[in-house]
């Protein structure tokens, strides 16, 4: 395998090619010039020049989430690396496989407070799955390949390689280490069979079961989601999804109860609260899902399938843990279920569905329609109607619009919905959207945005224009940091401290200034035409939709409340003031 000595930078590029990398998102600087030079001399790996390093990571996340591949980032030392920290943390929280290459000052200058020096491995240790400072060119090819292996294995996550400039320039032989067994890190894939037998036994006797499906199913791949869907259909049990799990089970299936959690569906939250057997498939009992812990699904036996043992019994004590990859576990469940010819309690299940249908009949997404002002929910309903028969991908920023998008846009396939779930990063949606678009050039990619979030990475408009990436940015402009305003209304006596965005730009002119297209919808009557035009335009489009400034996102589990005490709308909110205890929670 060994070849003629080549430079460290060339070794890295060769390793990227051997790992099947087609595109990297990056921004050059002094400490990565040798790498950029090596990239210049080849044409297998495409480079997308971002306008801020945070965006490079989010773009790589969008790419990774929509393809299932590892997203690759290349930034310089010091500020390049520190700017990437938010993106890395975002990827860690949402378990997205990323390899981030950072330049570093030459090894002899490390620790000298050199120009553009930062302790990158120190800073990123808590926000990466693993990181490496490669001090010798001899270790380089092994560590680059190892970084890809660690990023994608087990519970995926971001891995950072810090690359001193002299290591990039030193010469050594390249060895392809792809596929080598790791000395310590070998996460369990296949479940313990006896444990799965117990799972099937518990499920078979369930009277009020529910599947609770999370991002782990999406990460396990489209095939795993297909098997899971088949299995859920075989059982006839209801299925709710987390924000990260949307699309893992088809939203249009009658068994789907939609999203669970703080702004989840009334029927999903009530079913979670009242169930007797909960089957958690790749979700992590996040606080946005559980609400008050000691009131979370008090009467149920809990099954938890997760590839990461540290997710099990972290916040909620479970009865049947299964460590393994969702695909493998579901395959085993299906096999045992069929072999045992399981007969479920049809009578109990019918009664359970009756109850669920009563909750469904509350129609929790109902809102007060208007013909004078565009309701944000209405805007999304119209957007969905326009895209649902197309090959579409959605990203979002963070806030009210994100929750409405999760409620009103339906996903029948995994990898179609990219949102910052764990970290809640404003500014995620635009770079993530073009990351998706780079991977799927012919598809319709829409960033559902708020006017506050979009400003956080607005410079990325230039990236869209440079690469002619036809991303559609659908801004639901209510002039407020909507979710902040909603919480101030709910918890802080309507004292709207700093949540109004004065001096917003004219988004149409702004889009035009970047060389993109700008559209505006201010009246209900304009909405459909604007959406139609947005989709018809071949290039990048920014749409400014003036929505109701005062609308709040419902249903909602107020902080500190259990699942069966949801607020369904403004009237409910007035009737049920939030407890003091709930106010201290986030």
């Amino acid at each position: 395998m060994a070849t003629e000595p080549i430079t460290g930078a060339e070794i890295i590029v060769k390793a990227l090619i051997d790992q099947g990398v087609e595109v990297i998102f990056g921004y050059p600087g002094g400490a990565v010039l040798p790498l950029y030079d090596a990239l210049f001399k080849q044409n297998k790996v495409r480079h997308i020049l971002v306008r801020h390093e945070q965006a490079a990571v989010h773009a790589a996340e969008g790419y990774a989430r929509s393809t299932g591949k590892v997203g690759v980032v290349l930034v310089t030392s010091g500020p390049g690396a520190t700017n990437a920290v938010t993106g890395l943390t975002d990827a860690l929280m949402d378990s997205i496989p990323i390899v981030c290459l950072t330049g570093q000052v030459p090894t002899h200058l490390i620790g000298n407070d050199a120009f553009q020096e930062a302790d990158t491995t120190g800073i990123t240790r808590p926000c990466t799955k693993h990181n490496y400072l490669v001090k010798s060119v001899e270790d380089l090819s092994r560590k680059v390949h190892e970084a890809f292996y660690v990023a994608r294995s087990g519970r995926p996550g971001p891995v950072l390689l810090d690359l001193p400039k002299d290591v990039q320039q030193a010469k050594y032989e390249y060895v392809n280490h792809a596929g080598q067994r790791h000395r310590t890190y070998n996460p369990v894939q296949k479940p313990d069979r006896a444990q799965v037998e117990k799972v099937v036994e518990l499920m078979a006797g369930a009277k009020r079961p529910i599947f609770y499906v999370g991002g782990g199913a999406v990460n396990s791949g489209p095939l795993a989601c297909k098997m899971l869907t088949d299995f859920i259909r075989l059982t006839g049990f209801p299925c709710t999804q987390t924000l990260m799990g949307l699309g893992a089970f088809p939203a249009s299936d009658p068994l789907s109860l939609g999203m669970v959690g703080m702004h989840g569906m009334y029927e999903a939250n009530h079913a979670m609260h009242d169930c007797d057997v909960m089957i958690n498939i790749g979700a992590r009992f996040d606080d946005r899902v559980t609400g008050r812990l000691n009131a979370f699904s008090p009467g149920s036996k809990k099954i938890h399938v997760d590839i990461d043992p540290s997710s099990i019994n972290k916040s909620v004590r479970v009865d049947l843990p299964v460590v393994g990859d969702v695909g493998h576990v579901v395959e085993e469940m299906m096999r045992i279920w069929k072999a045992r010819q399981v007969k479920t309690d049809q009578k109990a299940l019918a009664a359970w569905w009756d109850q669920i249908n009563k909750w469904r009949a509350r129609d929790c997404l109902k809102y007060k329609a208007s013909d004078t002002i565009i309701k944000p929910q209405f805007a999304l309903e119209r957007l969905y109607a326009a895209v649902k028969d197309k090959d579409f991908y959605i990203t979002t920023e963070v806030g009210q619009h994100q929750m409405w998008a999760a409620q009103f846009l339906k996903f029948d396939k995994p990898n179609r919905w990219m949102t910052s779930g764990g970290l809640g990063t404003m500014g995620y949606g635009l770079p993530a959207a073009y990351g998706v678009q780079v991977a799927h050039p012919e598809s319709l990619v829409i960033d559902v945005a708020g006017e506050a979030s979009i400003m956080m990475n607005i410079q990325e408009m230039a990236t869209l224009v440079q690469y002619r990436l036809p991303v559609k940015i659908f801004i639901m402009n209510n002039k407020w940091m909507g979710m902040v305003r909603q919480w101030q209304e709910l918890l802080h006596g309507g004292r709207y401290s700093e949540s109004y965005s004065d001096a917003l730009p004219d988004f149409v002119k702004l889009a035009e200034a970047f060389g993109a297209n700008g559209l505006r919808a201010s009246k209900v009557s304009e909405l459909d035409d604007v959406i139609k035009e947005m989709i018809a335009i071949k290039g990048p489009v920014m749409v400014d939709v003036a929505v109701d400034e005062k609308e709040n996102c419902f249903p909602m589990i107020p902080s500190g409340a259990p699942h069966n005490e949801m607020l369904l709308g403004p009237e409910d909110q007035a009737a049920k003031p939030v407890s003091e205890e709930g106010m201290v929670l986030v």
Partner: protein, 199 residues
């Protein structure tokens, strides 16, 4: 220590509640166990730069306690170091700590010696006592009872070296307090499983 050695609930193989109606539904869920336990864990890691920072950062970042921590290379050929860490927490936290340590990439193995015991725990201290006259004589006599060794002496001071359990060291240091104790340096606990089995 023995009263603290409560068997923890295993997570991969251990099923806390019986299946099929024997256990009362929901009895084990969402109830915070508030018993605080003290556990000694032995962590075998690759001896590479930053590995200790990774372990310590995990503890501080997630708000776990460190009562004692020792680290040194134990296998030069394989580049392996052993970290012995004494920590406290509820059974759920202890289980978390073990799983969180286990998933760090350079970690080879994590052994909860408190659970997998019986095990040995030892600590070493250097204790400087500066005094003259009766106090000096008494310090030397007590050191003899505790089988501490004198490793440095001047006309007005001794440095004792002592090895033993944490309790024994505490007792010795307590007795030296009125006899001119001036400096203490302790290694923290190192531990190992008893018998022929390895970790």
């Amino acid at each position: 220590m023995s009263d603290l050695k409560r068997r923890n609930l295993g997570i991969v193989s251990g099923v806390p509640a019986a299946i099929g109606g024997a256990g009362q539904i929901g009895e084990s869920t969402s109830v915070k166990d508030i018993t605080i336990e003290r556990h000694t864990m032995s962590v075998l890691v690759d001896n590479e730069s930053g590995v200790l920072a990774r372990v310590i950062g995990l503890f501080s970042g997630r708000g776990y306690n460190i009562e004692s921590l020792t680290v040194a290379e134990v296998d030069a050929a394989q580049h392996l170091s052993r970290i012995t860490v004494v920590t406290t927490g509820t059974p759920m936290i202890i289980e978390q700590i073990k799983n969180q340590l286990q998933r760090l990439v350079p970690v080879h193995s994590v052994t909860d010696l408190t659970v997998e015991g019986p095990s040995l725990e030892r600590e070493m201290a250097l204790v400087k006592v500066a005094s003259t006259g009766d106090k000096r004589v008494e310090a030397l006599r007590i050191a003899d009872i505790f089988r501490a060794r004198v490793v440095d002496a001047t006309i007005e001071s001794f440095v004792f070296e002592m090895t033993g359990s944490t309790e024994k060291l505490n007792a010795f240091i307590g007795l030296m307090q009125p006899l001119g104790l001036s400096d203490v340096s302790r290694t923290g606990i190192v531990a190992m499983k008893r018998g022929s089995g390895t970790e």
